[in-house]
Symmetry: none
Subunit: 121 residues, 2 copies
Amino acid sequence: MSAAAESQREVLQVGPLTILPDENLARASGRALMLSSRELRLLIELARRADRIMSREQLYSLVWGRELRAGDRSVDVYVRKLRVKLESALPGWCFIHTHFGFGYRLAPEPSQHDNGRFTTD
Amino acid sequence: MSAAAESQREVLQVGPLTILPDENLARASGRALMLSSRELRLLIELARRADRIMSREQLYSLVWGRELRAGDRSVDVYVRKLRVKLESALPGWCFIHTHFGFGYRLAPEPSQHDNGRFTTD
DNA sequence: ACAAGTTGTTCACGCCTGTTTCACGCGCGG
DNA sequence: CCGCGCGTGAAACAGGCGTGAACAACTTGT
């Protein structure tokens, strides 16, 4: 890889999360996360479409590279693995939000998930 | 993703509300709302005819895809659910207005509950 | 090649959310 | 004051999703 390719390196910033796909690495407030290959890949694909709802079919296709079979819960399982590690690394933050019947959405939010209740005082 | 496909996407703007039917998502001042399938669908159909009075029969037909049966209060129930979540996300705004005997109308208005209402105990 | 640890996949149980329906009471309009 | 439309809470039901664990596949060290 040349210096030109280096300058193109993708850097995904999601709140206190920094994801470097080309380095196979994600950092939480600077500290490297210990993610497996699939976990990181899922986080990357979620982060590339941050704040957008991604269906299980889309995520499976992006991460596993093939079509999701009916009844396959792989995405759910890896979403959980990610949630556990992210919660462990950044307590008080909520990143992966479930949209019932649709899929998941990545967005950095404080644990108070009372969607839109602000004290403007 | 081409620019052509992107330009076809429906975007409904209702005051501080942004509704993206193709993404199954609605935002309040940029923040994603947590709406169920039916709630979102109802909001979409209301927003597509914003500022127009929609009868329960019309709304039910658009959202549920079949004819409203006599005595069915489903539309009322979901209007309430939407009102609660919208009020929670955007305090001080009133979006769904009741037209007695006719139906509902979606329009962004500041909540002006100071017009002559007092508690006489 | 074998053992041990790690990662990936599948399964089943049950909670929790969403949907439908019902009932009660208030309010609007006549 | 009366009647019906509407607001509202909650029960009942269904199924999507969270979760732990067993099992398989892969990696690493000796």
